[in-house]
């Protein structure tokens, strides 16, 4: 049962990681908490649903989800975050929260308050490894996450743009002084983070067969706990943080059975990190 619960936990953890990466990347370059990232995640789910309805193809739908998310992320950067840069961080934070609430209401008005089903014939079978069962939706989530994370890693470590992105994340002013176009890098950052969130939104929609205006709520606030746990701005730390939270929650419910709401654990972990290791698991 432990192995089975690990599979459950890793699936959820993959989704957390995918969602939280954009948060940590934006924090890395702009030092703002991008609460509205959760609205980008939800948009990805709706766009994926619409894309699948129109094309009937999982991959085209995934592309639609990621493109819509990129567009939304870039628009937010252009009209909210960049103009507010240099204001006290609280201004950006409040704008971001306002944006998140506003967008959720827009989704509700446009798509209606009720959840939509998101059924996709996966073309994958269940995989049985001894006593452990990896169901087709779990397999899909883990495969897509692995591919996207692998692509992100290659981009960051093997391309000039990736290097620029890491440089801006380490020290924006110094990067600017080295004649890097910081604005372009910031935009790239928003685009990448949003694309991952859009993909995560669509995967969550398929995994739970449910797309609704408020689906970003839990993902949003748990994302904050995860990026703190991993080390604010640290990309490997966020992946680790997402997996740790996903697995820990699952084991605590599935093995120990503690009578405590699962969503609280991520925040207990966050508080513990603040007290014991403020830079996070893999932070500098």
């Amino acid at each position: 049962m432990l192995a089975q619960q690990l599979v459950n936990g890793l699936t959820v953890g993959s989704l957390y990681a995918l969602m939280a990466l954009g948060l940590t990347m934006v924090y890395g370059v702009l030092r703002v908490l991008h609460i509205a990232h959760a609205a980008v995640f939800t948009l990805g789910a709706y766009a994926g649903l619409a894309g699948f309805g129109l094309t009937g193809s999982f991959w085209l739908a995934l592309a639609a989800a990621m493109l819509a998310a990129v567009a939304a992320g870039l628009a937010m950067e252009r009209w909210v975050y960049w103009p507010l840069l240099g204001q006290p961080p609280i201004a950006t934070l409040i704008a971001s929260i306002g944006l998140f609430i506003g967008l959720e209401e827009v989704y509700r008005i446009v798509a209606g308050p009720q959840p939509y089903a998101f059924q996709v014939p996966l073309g994958l079978g269940d995989v049985r490894l001894g006593p452990v069962l990896v169901t087709a939706p779990q397999l899909l989530v883990m495969l897509v996450t692995a591919v996207l994370l692998g692509a992100l890693w290659l981009f960051l470590t093997h391309t000039a743009l990736g290097l620029a992105l890491r440089a801006v994340s380490q020290d924006r002013d110094m990067a600017a002084a080295c004649a890097m176009n910081v604005r372009t890098v910031v935009r790239l950052n928003f685009a990448l983070g949003s694309a991952l969130a859009g993909a995560a939104g669509m995967l969550v929609g398929i995994y739970y067969n449910s797309v609704s205006p408020t689906m970003g709520d839990i993902a949003g606030y748990k994302g904050l706990a995860i990026i703190v746990l991993g080390g604010l701005g640290s990309i490997p730390g966020t992946v680790l943080g997402g997996l740790v939270v996903g697995v820990a929650e699952t084991l605590l419910i599935g093995i120990v059975e503690v009578p405590f709401p699962r969503d609280a654990w991520a925040f207990l972990a966050m508080i513990a990190v603040f007290l014991l290791r403020p830079q996070g698991l893999l932070g500098r």
Partner: protein, 385 residues
Amino acid sequence: MNRWTTLGVSVLVVLALGMGGLPAAAQDPIKIGFFAPLTGFAAADGASARHSAEIAVEEINAAGGLRGRSVELVVYDDRHNSNEAVALANKLVERDRVVGVVSGSYSMPSRVTAPIFARAGVPMVVGYAVHPDVTKAGSCIFRNGYLGQVEGGAAAESAVTRQKARRIAVLTVDNDFGRVTSAAFIERARRLGAEIVSEQVFKLGEKEFGPYLTRLQGQPLDLIFHTSYYNEGAQIVRKARELGLTAALEGTEGIDSPKFLELAGPAAEGVTFTTNLNRDDPRPEVQSFLKKYQAKAGVGADMVGASTYDAVKILAHGIQEGGTEARAICQAIANLRDYPAVTGRIVRFTKGEVTKPVQVQIVRDGKIRSFATIDNPEVITPPVQ
């Protein structure tokens, strides 16, 4: 010219009055207050309640209104927010001066407003809110839905007596409805000789049931009983089937919604649940309501809608029999016997709580059909002294 205009207008007015055909036009309409969560997370249920209340009022007015006066529904949105609910309750009492109130809302808004209506002497009929305190706020509050104790007991009858389950696992949503209903289920199931092999509690809004259901793998299990709403219920049945659990799945009125079928997909097949709306009930009042709801809302009717429809009709019955004075309305509703509601024949109200058979429905070929009717008086009589 002027004279002709005046004459024309007068003729139009007379025609309009004549066509309306209601002597009520001369009198003010009878105002019935109504509230439901029309926006926010519960908006789908709010919409269902509102459509159904409107159908009830349209029918009443088409049949000539109440005591010769037309009926007007005064609709408010409680947003499932207690501050909002208190404010609208005061508005209904002081500004709108309604004759009676129907709650098309959940327990929380119903519970905070009940004492306000009780104090103001406004009769209240609650569609489907389950919290026991709602009816305790005053002597003129009636509930059309079952108490959790009744529903849990009936679900146990269905599980153990009808579906012959011996080994049962229970999944409980962590709120009043879930706790009370599951406790009643467990008590009755044990008394009927079944063994409860697992009790787990999850929080409202939970999506990931892998951890809970993986615990149930690899042991003999006849049935999983879950108190849940359609979002969680759909995740439970999908995950259970995904993980290869073959036990029967029984839920409650919380999953009585076309959305459950949609979100659960093929996994919904064979799922049973307790509710008060029997879609296969041949009585004309039921079939007529189902048809009207489908036409108005574009989807099939659910428990929330049918219960709210009945609540309006019960209040209207009280007004028709007793008049517009609160005490007479209460007396008339309390005196109801064998009343043909859409959600089953109401035997009577006892201290505001209803006695009527509990329906068990089953999903067959993607449709909600009748499975059983639980009418054991020991189970369906509300536990009030």
